[in-house]
C-alpha cells in the first residue's frame, strides 16, 4: 500500500461502514447476541490475510505467526457460525394462543419420545 492506494481503500472503508450502520441499526434488540456472534464469525475474515502469511514462505517467523493466525481465525469462523446458527435455531415464533401451543408441543414431544 502507498499513499495513492490509500484513498480508494478509505472510500471502501467509509462506504462499508455506512452500509453496516444502516443495516445494523435495523437489527432488533432481540437478536443482539446472535448479531455479536455473527460479526465475530465474519471477523474471522482475517483468515484471508493469515493464509497468505502462512503459505508465502517468506521467512520462518511469518510462517509460524501465519499458522497461529490461521488457527485462531478458523476458530472464530467455525465456532462463530456454528454457535450463531445454534442460537438462531432457538428463536421461534409462538403459535396463536399460548396455552394451546404448549399443549400441542408437549403432546408432540411425548408422541415423538414414546413410540406406541
Amino acid at each position: 500500500m502507498n499513499a495513492t492506494s490509500l484513498l480508494p481503500a478509505l472510500y471502501v472503508f467509509v462506504l462499508a461502514g455506512f452500509v453496516g450502520f444502516l443495516v445494523i441499526t435495523r437489527v432488533p434488540a432481540l437478536l443482539h447476541t446472535p448479531l455479536m456472534s455473527a460479526t465475530n464469525a465474519i471477523s474471522g475474515i482475517s483468515l484471508v490475510g493469515s493464509i497468505v502469511a502462512a503459505g508465502s514462505d517468506q521467512n520462518q517467523v511469518a510462517t509460524v505467526l501465519g499458522f497461529v493466525a490461521v488457527t485462531s481465525a478458523t476458530i472464530n469462523v467455525v465456532g462463530g457460525f456454528l454457535i450463531t446458527d445454534r442460537m438462531l435455531k432457538m428463536f421461534r415464533r409462538g403459535r396463536p394462543g399460548g396455552a394451546a401451543r404448549e399443549a400441542t408441543t408437549t403432546a408432540e414431544a411425548r408422541a415423538a419420545k414414546e413410540p406406541k
Binding site: N40, G44, V48, T74
Partner: protein, 462 residues
C-alpha cells in the same frame, strides 16, 4: 490474470454475501438463512485466497485450518447458552490475535519496517494497536465473566492516569513510527503498550457494565481486521472489518444509552465503586414478604403477567422454570409477556437468548419502549433477578447514580412480586424504592427453587 480475476470475484461475492447475511439478522425469521449466506461468503473468500499466487506451501495453512476447526467445533457446538457472554468475549480475542499476528508478520517480512511505506505503516500501526488492546481486554473480560477474576471493578489510585498515559504512549509511538517506519524496537514496544492498555482498560470495569465493554471490544476487533485490509491491500477485509466495527460501535452506543452514560463514563467511571456520600444506601426498612402459596394464587388468577428477567435469572439458570410457570398461567387463561431491558444481563441480548433457549416464543419478548405502556394494565409483574433496571430512582431521584437511565415501569403495575435472594442491594449498591412500595411483595430465596415452588402451587390451585 484469470486467477487474479477469480480471486477478486470471490472477494466481491463474499462481501455482498456478508452484507446480505447481516441484513437477514434484521428479522428472526430470515436470520438463519442470512447467516448461511454469510458462511457461504466466508467459504468463497477462503477458497479464493487459496488460489493466491504467492502461496507456495499449503502445509501450514492446512494445519492451521484443521487445528482451528478442531478447537472451533466444540466451542460452537458444546458451549452452553448460559456461558455465552464469556464465549463471545474470548472469541473477540481470537479475531484480534489473528489480525495482530498478521500485522507483525507483515512488518517483520518487510525487512523489519525498512521496506514499509508510511501509509502502510499507519495501517499496520492501527492494526496491531487495536488488535493488541483487544487481545488483553477480551481476556480480562473473559476472566471476569468466567469468574476467574472478581466481577467487581478492580481499582487502584491513579488508575485513570496510568490508562491515559499508556494510551498516549501507544499513540505517540504510532506517530513516531509513521514518521520513520524502520524502528523495530518502537514497533514491538507499541504492541507491548497496547497489551498493557487492554488490561488497564477492562480491569476497573464492573460486571454490570460488561455489555458496553463487550460491544466495544467487538468494534475494536472489527477495526483491527479492517486495518489489516488497508495494510495488505485487501478490500474484503476492509469491508468485513468495517461491518464488524460498525456493529460493535452501534451496540455500544445502544448499551450506553440504556444506562444513560457516556462512553468515557463507562470506561473511566468504575461504576461499581462504593456509592458516595449523599446517595441513599440500603438500610433496614420494612418490606412485605410473600409466601410461594400466596404468590401462586396471585399469579394463577392473573389475566396479564409481565416477567422482568435480570442477570439473577442467568445466574440461577431459572429460564426453564419461568417458561414452565408461564405455560401454567397461560393454561389458566392468563397472558404472559417478558419485558427485556437492553442492558439486562452481561451482554447485549443476553436475556433473549436464554429465554429463547427455554422455548419462549420470540414474539413474547418485548423491548423496553414497546412494553412500558403495558405495565399499567398488568395484574402482576414478576421481577426475577433484576434490580437497577426497575429502580424508580432513575426517574425520581436526581441524586441517584442511575438517575436518567431509562427503566422498565414495573412500579406502575397493580402488584409486583420480586424474587430476591436477600435484601442485599443490587450490583451498584443503590437503594431500590420499588421494594418498599405498597404493591410490592418480596419472595425470598433462590430464584430457581422459588419458581419450582410456585409452579407446584399453581398446579395445585389449577
Amino acid at each position: 490474470m484469470t486467477r487474479e480475476l477469480l480471486i477478486q470475484a470471490s472477494y466481491l461475492a463474499s462481501s455482498i454475501l456478508f452484507i446480505l447475511g447481516l441484513r437477514g439478522l434484521t428479522h428472526p425469521d430470515s436470520a438463519r438463512r442470512g447467516m448461511q449466506l454469510a458462511a457461504l461468503g466466508m467459504l468463497l473468500a477462503v477458497v479464493g485466497t487459496l488460489l493466491h499466487h504467492s502461496i507456495v506451501d499449503y502445509r501450514w495453512i492446512l494445519g492451521g485450518l484443521a487445528l482451528g476447526t478442531l478447537i472451533g467445533y466444540p466451542m460452537g457446538m458444546w458451549v452452553p447458552m448460559t456461558a455465552m457472554p464469556q464465549r463471545i468475549a474470548i472469541s473477540h480475542m481470537f479475531g484480534a490475535l489473528a489480525a495482530t499476528l498478521v500485522g507483525i508478520a507483515e512488518y517483520y517480512s518487510h525487512a523489519n519496517g525498512a521496506a514499509v511505506g508510511r501509509a502502510q505503516m499507519a495501517a499496520l500501526g492501527f492494526e496491531v494497536l487495536f488488535g493488541a488492546l483487544t487481545i488483553t481486554g477480551s481476556v480480562m473480560a473473559f476472566l471476569k465473566l468466567q469468574e476467574l477474576l472478581p466481577g467487581a471493578p478492580i481499582t487502584f489510585r491513579g488508575q485513570n492516569v496510568v490508562s491515559i498515559a499508556l494510551f498516549g504512549c501507544g499513540l505517540g509511538l504510532l506517530v513516531w513510527l509513521v514518521a520513520s517506519p524502520a524502528q523495530p524496537l518502537a514497533f514491538y514496544a507499541m504492541i507491548g503498550v497496547a497489551l498493557l492498555f487492554g488490561v488497564s482498560l477492562v480491569l476497573p470495569i464492573g460486571g454490570a457494565d460488561m455489555p458496553v465493554v463487550i460491544s466495544l471490544l467487538n468494534s475494536y476487533a472489527g477495526l483491527a481486521s479492517s486495518a489489516t485490509g488497508f495494510a495488505i491491500g485487501n478490500d474484503v477485509l476492509i469491508i468485513a472489518g468495517a461491518l464488524d466495527g460498525a456493529s460493535g460501535f452501534i451496540l455500544s452506543i445502544v448499551m450506553s444509552k440504556a444506562m444513560n452514560r457516556s462512553f468515557t463514563n463507562v470506561l473511566f467511571g468504575a461504576f461499581g465503586a462504593p456509592p458516595e456520600a449523599g446517595v441513599k444506601v440500603a438500610e433496614a426498612r420494612p418490606v412485605k414478604s410473600i409466601t410461594p402459596e400466596d404468590a401462586a394464587i396471585q399469579l394463577g388468577y392473573a389475566r396479564k403477567v409481565i416477567v422482568v428477567p435480570g442477570y439473577g435469572m442467568a445466574v440461577a439458570q431459572a429460564q426453564h422454570q419461568i417458561r414452565e410457570l408461564a405455560d401454567l398461567i397461560e393454561k389458566n387463561g392468563g397472558e404472559v409477556i417478558y419485558a427485556i431491558h437492553p442492558v439486562a444481563g452481561r451482554m447485549p441480548g443476553h436475556m433473549n437468548v436464554l429465554l429463547a433457549e427455554a422455548d419462549v416464543p420470540y414474539d413474547k419478548l418485548k423491548e423496553m419502549e414497546d412494553v412500558n405502556p403495558d405495565f399499567a394494565t398488568a395484574d402482576a409483574v414478576l421481577v426475577i433477578g433484576a434490580n437497577d433496571v426497575v429502580n424508580p430512582a432513575a426517574r425520581n431521584d436526581p441524586k441517584s447514580p442511575i438517575y436518567g437511565m431509562p427503566i422498565l415501569d414495573a412500579d406502575k403495575a397493580k402488584s409486583v412480586i420480586v424474587m430476591k435472594r436477600s435484601m442485599n442491594p443490587g450490583f451498584a449498591g443503590i437503594e431500590n424504592e420499588l421494594f418498599y412500595q405498597p404493591q410490592t411483595s418480596l419472595l425470598f430465596g433462590d430464584a430457581k427453587q422459588s419458581l419450582q415452588k410456585l409452579i407446584s402451587e399453581v398446579k395445585h390451585a389449577g
